[in-house]
Amino acid sequence: MMTQKIKILIVILALVAFAFIVPRSGSFVVLLATRAMAFAILAMSVDLLLGYTGMSSMGQAAYFGVGAYLTAVLATKFHFGMGWDFWIVVVLGILIGCALAALFGLFAIRAGGVYFLMITLALGQCVWGLAYRWNSLTGGDNGINMSGRPSFGLDLTNETTFFYLVFAFFAVSMGLLYVLVRSPFGRSLAGIRERELRMQILGYNTWLHKYIAFIIAGGFGGVAGVLWAHTNGHVSPETVVLTTSVDSLLMVVLGGAGTLVGATLGAAIVFGLREYLSTLVPWWQYALGGVYVLTILYLPMGLMGIPSRLRQRLGSKDKGEGSKKLASKPS
């Protein structure tokens, strides 16, 4: 068994290697990695809900979307957030994500299981509808174009600089979420996931725990949206559409729920296949579909389940051989 310390070390080494290799691999790869990391923050926020609290949210794109639209509207209508005030936009993005989650949570947390899924889906679609129809603010179907990225000492128009910024956000988010899920609060979330009734009997206010987790996830969604808006400088209803929520959920399931790293892996694979492989071959959709199907069939724990799966395999093989020997002995 690997100790937790070694696992953390592996993740940190992987991140350092990632930050070292990617900027040396051509600007398109840098752009893709930047987008994947911004999206991975959203995927990790989904993991907090799905993997640690047991709530499958189908509306996470809503917080992502308001963060992105906030950034775009402030930048184009008020010329705000293109200098050092970018950091204010980041804070505002987190706040608006939290605020919206606080509002939606009031409706959604009352339900559980598939009903929770349906309510979050409906609320997410409300935000999409607003983005699509509130023409004067959101530009409707055309969306909003921003010109350039912020610059405050650091010139973010440079793809590599922006990559490092998003990388920093990504690493910090991962660290914060890790601390959160290992905290007593995080442990009680896991307790709710395993058996909510028992937690209630033990005296925990499970509704409040879930509500707070939901708000925190909303905040991470918001900050992911702020970064996402700047990756392509373009925000449209496509950002808030149902597919975005589904994608983030699929990434978590693909990588392995309840691991945080899994969500990141999922994001990396989906972006790699959808946006990089699609520039090389026309059959990329089959590859993506194949990965999904194989994961669901053979890796119910996601890609992060591979090590334990291997151990199990090897273990059972040993046992099998052992029992064979035993069986052959009497003869």
Binding site: S25, G26, S27, L31, G148, S236, E238, E275, T279, V281
Partner: protein, 416 residues
């Protein structure tokens, strides 16, 4: 497969290891093409690529003497993905220009990329009005070879007025392309003395018009419909099924060659306007339709023709530039000075980098055409408005002084 895989691996190793790609040969012209080749618009994307590819194949893969490296990228119909792919084309493939974009939203998303990266963007389908109108100054590396959404609908407004229609209901898809098309029709129709008495906006992708048809006023002389994709098939079927026999005058996409082969006989007699019809009775177009149909097994749509013409236009521009790439700004200047003889008729460029072209008022007829032996639906041209500008007859200054056509403009003065 293996060699492709090896190439792929080798390519990514090289890209990762060296962080560079081979610089383009000076005699090569790298063209990036962005179209939805997967997703719900995949078939339209195919028409777009096929149109361009056919011209290339006919000319030995060369435009203006330069060997063309033609790179197609899929944006899945999403504006956001289009931006990513455009950046890939520019940063990794070092293309001299990128072409394409289907939806208006994609056009709006791609134009700023051309400005930021100082790379030529030719919009061969995307028709968002303002790109070549009020926002043109922002996009010095942008030029359009297709149309603006309101360009064909403005003459149609005049035509409807000339037919003696007094009251018209409009029903159009609820997004920018719909607003601009309906707006163009309404403005000209009302300036001529007609009245739009009701405006209905079903969402893009509506599959059931049941809730909308009964609300339509019964005293209208005609209905202006602006449908896109599967909506176009559903609306006339349900309207006629409900017993409504009001004549239809429609935006081009409601009856383009992309949807026409899948339509029933109920659409015979419906009128629409566009800058192309596969049934234009000229030898130039007949040859184009026959060659296209022989190659791809279907009648070309305006998506095919516009991209074919784009390739033709690039060909002529490079030729005039002396057979070499002149740089984006010089390319645009030269292109503006060239008038091409396209399958759709003569096309020139105005000073706002949008084509001046014929607009065809077309009526759906069932007949044999160009020697094909089966009865088929064709968009027979019943009137041609020659050399129509995006500003119609208003003149540039007066036209640009008004806001872009939207849900609110022109206001529905005669609705109750």
């Amino acid at each position: 497969m293996t060699s492709k895989l090896q190439k792929l691996l080798l390519g990514s190793c090289l890209a990762l290891g060296l962080g560079m790609t081979a610089p383009a040969n000076a005699d090569d012209l790298s063209i990036g093409f962005i179209a939805p080749t997967t997703g719900i618009f995949a078939q339209i994307g195919k028409d777009m690529v096929d149109g361009f590819q056919m011209y290339l194949d006919d000319h030995g893969g060369k435009l203006g003497g330069m060997t063309v490296k033609f790179i197609v990228e899929d944006n899945q119909g999403k504006p956001d993905a289009a931006v990513t792919k455009a950046k890939k084309l520019i940063l990794q493939d070092h293309v001299q220009m990128f072409i394409g974009g289907l939806l208006a939203s994609t056009g709006y998303a791609l134009a700023p990329v051309s400005t930021a990266e100082k790379t030529l963007y030719i919009s061969s389908i995307s028709s968002a009005d303002d790109l070549t109108q009020r926002q043109l100054d922002k996009y010095p590396y942008f030029i359009r070879t297709s149309w603006t959404s309101s360009l064909p609908e403005q003459p149609l407004g005049q035509w409807a007025c000339d037919q003696g229609y007094k009251k018209v209901i409009t029903i159009g898809a609820d997004y920018a392309f719909g607003y601009e098309s309906v707006g163009g029709f309404q403005k000209v129709f009302e300036d001529c003395g007609g009245k739009v008495i009701q405006k209905i906006w079903p969402p893009l992708g509506t599959k059931d018009f049941g809730p909308y048809i009964p609300t339509m006023k019964t005293d209208a002389d005609a209905i202006f419909s602006l449908m896109v994709g599967p909506m176009a098939l559903q609306f006339p079927k349900q309207l006629r099924g409900a017993g409504n026999k009001t004549p239809i005058v429609a935006g081009g996409t409601s009856y383009d060659e992309f949807v026409l082969p899948f339509m029933g006989d109920e659409v015979i007699g419906d009128v629409s306007a566009l800058h192309y019809s596969a049934a234009i009775p000229t030898p130039r177009n007949e040859a184009f339709v026959k060659a296209y149909r022989a190659k791809y097994g279907k009648v070309p749509s305006y998506y095919s023709e516009n991209n074919y013409t784009t390739a033709l236009w690039i060909d002529e521009t490079i030729k005039k530039s002396g057979g070499k790439w002149p740089g984006a700004e010089a390319f645009i200047k030269t292109m503006q000075s060239i008038k091409v003889d396209a399958p759709r008729g003569p096309v020139a460029m105005d000073d706002m980098r949008n084509p001046v072209e014929n607009v065809y008022i077309k009526k759906v007829e069932k007949k044999k055409m160009f020697g094909y032996d089966k009865d088929e639906l064709w968009n027979t041209v019943i009137k041609t408005y020659p050399n129509v500008s995006q500003f119609w007859t208003y003149g540039k200054e007066k036209f640009l002084a008004q806001p872009v056509y939207s849900r609110e403009f022109p206001a529905c003065k005669f609705c109750e």
